[in-house]
C-alpha cells in the first residue's frame, strides 16, 4: 500500500469530537435496549421469532434495517464506483422481484402458514428429519461463510469515514470493538432486541440517506456524474450488457435469480422476518411495501459510489491517484465512498450518518448471528438428540453458537484474500445454500412429486455453486487447463462466477426432478400450498 496515500486519507477526514459523541450516544441507546428486553425472551419462539407478533409496518422497518446493512452499503457503493449507472440494474431487479413475491406470496406465504420457525424445519415437515439436518448444515455453513467479510468491510467504512490510520492495527481494533458490541446485545435479547434496534436504525438511516443523497446531488450534480461516468467507462457505465461492462449478460440473468427472488423469498434472514409476521396477509403487505426499500438498498449506495467516483475523478483530480488508476490503494473501491462522505458531510451530520451506518452494521450482524445460530440449534443439534432440548437449553446453546460464529468471522475477515467484489463474494457463498434451497422449497411447496431422496440430491447439487468462489474457480479452471493444455486466462474470462451459478442452478433442477421421479416417496408428509390466502 502506498504510504503517502495512507497518510493523505487520514488527513482527509472531517470527523470531529462532536461526531464521536453522537456515535457514542447512539450505540449506548442500542445497548440499553438490548439489555431491557432480555426479560421478554422467555421462550424459543420469543427469542428467535419475537413471539410471532410483528405487525406489517414494523416488519418493513426491520426488513429494511436488516437488508440495508453497512455491508450492503459498502458493496453497492463499490459496484457503483466501479460500474457506474449500469450497476442500477440490480436495484431494479431486486425491487421487481420483491414486489412480485409480495403480490403473489410465492414461497413465503405457504411457509408462514405452516408456522415453521426456520427453513430446515419445513424440510422436516415435507421430506423428513434427515433432510432437515442436511439442509441445516448446508445453510449454516454457507451463511457463516457469507457473513465472513462483514466485520472487515464494516470496519473499513469506519476507518475511512473517521480518518483512522489505514495501516497498523486500526482495522483490527475497530473489528474487535464492533464484534463485542454486537455480540453483547444479540446474545442478551435475541429477535426482540433485533427488531427494536432495526426500527431505530430505520429511522436514523432514513434521515441519513436523504441528507447525504441531497448533499451529494447539490455538491456534485447528476450532470457532472454523467460526464465522469461517460468519459471513464463509456457505454459500459450505463448499459449493464454492453461490451466491456464489468457485469455482462450472464451476470444480469443471474441477478434475476439471486437479487430478484432469493433476496426476499429464500434468503433465511429475510424469510425469518416473514415467519415472524402476525399473519400470511401481513407477510404479503410487508413484502409489497418493502419492494421500495429493496430498490433503495441498491440504488442509494450505488449513487454514493458514483458520486465518490466523480468527486475524485473530476472535482478533486489531485486525489484521484489514491482511488483510481494504477497507483490506487488496496481496496480503493471500498474506501472511496466513506472518505467521500467524510469530505462532503458537515460536522454533526457526519456523526449521525456514521452512527446510522454502525447501526446498519449492527442490525445486519445481529440478524445473521441469530439466524445461523438458531439454525444450528434448532435444525442440526436438536433433531440429532434423542431427548428433546428444553427452552432454556436451546437459548443457551444458541447464545454459545452466536459467540463461536462471531469468533469465526473475526478470523475469516483477517484471513480471506480473494479479490472478487464483495457483492460477488456474497452471492457465491450464499448460492451454496440458496441454489439448492430454492429448488427444494419450490418443489416441496408446489410439486407433489418431490421426494425425500430428490431433496437430498437437490441440496447437494446446489452446493456445487461453491465452484464460483473466485479462489476456487481460478484453481479449478487453471488445473483443468494445465491438464488439457488450454489457455486458462481465456477460459477464466468465459467461465465467470455468474456462469457457474447458472450452471449450478440448472444442475440442481435436473438432479432434483430426475431423482424425485426415480425415487418417489411412499407417503407425503405435507402436500404443499398455493400461496394464496
Amino acid at each position: 500500500m502506498d504510504a503517502l496515500a495512507v497518510s493523505s486519507i487520514s488527513e482527509l477526514s472531517g470527523f470531529h469530537t462532536i461526531d464521536w459523541v453522537i456515535v457514542a450516544c447512539y450505540l449506548s441507546v442500542s445497548l440499553v435496549i438490548g439489555i431491557l428486553v432480555t426479560r421478554y425472551a422467555t421462550s424459543m419462539t420469543a427469542y428467535i421469532g419475537a413471539g410471532r407478533s410483528v405487525g406489517p409496518w414494523l416488519g418493513v422497518a426491520t426488513m429494511t434495517g436488516t437488508e440495508m446493512g453497512l455491508i450492503t452499503v459498502m458493496y453497492m457503493a463499490q459496484s457503483g464506483f466501479a460500474g457506474g449507472f449500469a450497476a442500477f440494474h440490480m436495484g431494479l431487479i431486486a425491487g421487481l422481484g420483491t414486489l412480485l413475491v409480495g403480490l403473489t406470496g410465492f414461497i413465503v406465504v405457504p411457509l408462514r402458514r405452516l408456522k415453521v420457525l426456520t427453513i430446515p424445519e419445513f424440510y422436516e415437515r415435507r421430506f423428513g428429519r434427515d433432510v432437515r439436518v442436511l439442509g441445516g448444515i448446508i445453510l449454516a455453513t454457507a451463511g457463516i461463510l457469507n457473513m465472513g467479510l462483514f466485520l472487515q468491510v464494516g470496519a473499513k467504512f469506519i476507518v475511512g469515514a473517521t480518518g483512522l490510520e489505514l495501516g497498523g492495527s486500526g482495522l483490527i481494533v475497530v473489528m474487535t470493538g464492533l464484534l463485542i458490541l454486537v455480540l453483547v446485545y444479540t446474545v442478551l435479547g435475541g429477535m426482540i432486541s433485533v427488531i427494536l434496534t432495526d426500527y431505530t436504525q430505520f429511522v436514523v438511516l432514513s434521515v441519513g440517506v436523504v441528507i447525504t443523497s441531497a448533499l451529494a446531488m447539490s455538491e456534485i450534480g447528476v450532470d457532472e456524474m454523467y460526464i465522469a461516468v461517460r468519459d471513464s467507462m463509456g457505454e459500459a457505465g450505463f448499459n449493464p450488457t454492453a461490451e466491456g461492462s464489468t457485469f455482462g449478460l450472464s451476470y444480469v440473468l443471474y441477478q434475476f435469480f439471486a437479487a430478484g427472488i432469493v433476496g426476499c423469498a429464500v434468503w433465511p434472514t429475510a424469510v425469518a422476518r416473514s415467519l415472524a409476521m402476525e399473519s400470511p396477509a401481513a407477510v404479503k403487505k410487508q413484502l409489497s411495501v418493502s419492494a421500495v426499500s429493496f430498490v433503495m438498498r441498491f440504488l442509494i449506495p450505488m449513487f454514493w459510489g458514483i458520486a465518490a467516483f466523480t468527486w475524485f475523478a473530476r472535482i478533486h483530480p489531485e486525489l484521484s491517484g489514491t482511488f483510481i488508476g494504477d497507483s490506487k490503494i488496496e481496496d480503493a473501491g471500498l474506501y472511496a465512498m466513506p472518505v467521500f462522505l467524510s469530505q462532503i458531510l458537515p460536522t454533526g451530520i457526519l456523526g449521525l450518518v456514521v452512527a446510522a451506518m454502525i447501526a446498519a452494521f449492527m442490525s445486519t450482524h445481529d440478524s445473521y448471528l441469530l439466524c445461523w445460530s438458531s439454525v444450528l440449534t434448532q435444525d442440526v443439534v436438536a433433531p440429532l438428540r434423542k431427548n428433546s432440548l428444553s427452552n432454556p437449553s436451546r437459548i443457551l446453546l444458541t447464545r454459545v453458537f452466536i459467540v463461536l460464529i462471531g469468533a469465526f468471522i473475526w478470523g475469516w475477515g483477517l484471513f480471506y484474500k480473494g479479490s472478487d467484489r464483495i457483492w460477488d463474494y456474497m452471492v457465491i457463498t450464499g448460492s451454496i445454500y440458496f441454489t439448492g434451497a430454492f429448488v427444494v422449497m419450490v418443489g416441496g411447496l408446489y410439486w407433489k412429486g418431490a421426494s425425500r431422496i430428490g431433496a437430498v440430491a437437490g441440496l447437494l447439487a446446489g452446493a456445487s455453486a461453491v465452484l464460483g468462489l473466485e479462489p476456487v474457480r481460478i484453481a479449478c479452471v487453471t488445473f483443468v487447463c494445465s491438464v488439457t493444455g488450454h489457455d486458462s486466462q481465456q477460459w477464466l474470462a468465459l467461465i465467470t462466477s455468474s456462469v457457474v451459478g447458472l450452471c449450478s442452478l440448472g444442475l440442481t433442477v435436473v438432479m432434483f426432478v430426475v431423482v424425485s421421479l426415480m425415487t418417489p416417496d411412499k407417503s407425503h408428509l405435507y402436500t404443499g400450498g398455493t400461496g394464496n390466502d
Binding site: Y40, A46, W57, A61, G95, R230, D231, F238, V292, L299
Partner: protein
C-alpha cells in the same frame, strides 16, 4: 478534448428517473413506517409481556 457523443443520454435519464422516483417513494414509506411502526412496537411489547407473565406464572 472533444466529448464523446451523448448517445447514453437515454440510459442515463432512465436510471436517474428511477433514482428520483425511488427516493421520493422511500421518503413517503419511511414517514408512514416510522409512525405506524412505533404503534406496532407498543402492541408487540404488550403481547410479549403477557406471554412472559404467563410463562413466569407457569414456572411459579
Amino acid at each position: 478534448m472533444i466529448s464523446p457523443p451523448d448517445e447514453y443520454q437515454a440510459w442515463f435519464t432512465f436510471w436517474v428517473n428511477l433514482l428520483y422516483g425511488s427516493l421520493s417513494l422511500f421518503v413517503l414509506v419511511a414517514l408512514v413506517v416510522t409512525v405506524k411502526g412505533w404503534q406496532e412496537i407498543k402492541v408487540m411489547l404488550s403481547r410479549l409481556k403477557e406471554d412472559a407473565d404467563e410463562q413466569n406464572a407457569i414456572q411459579d
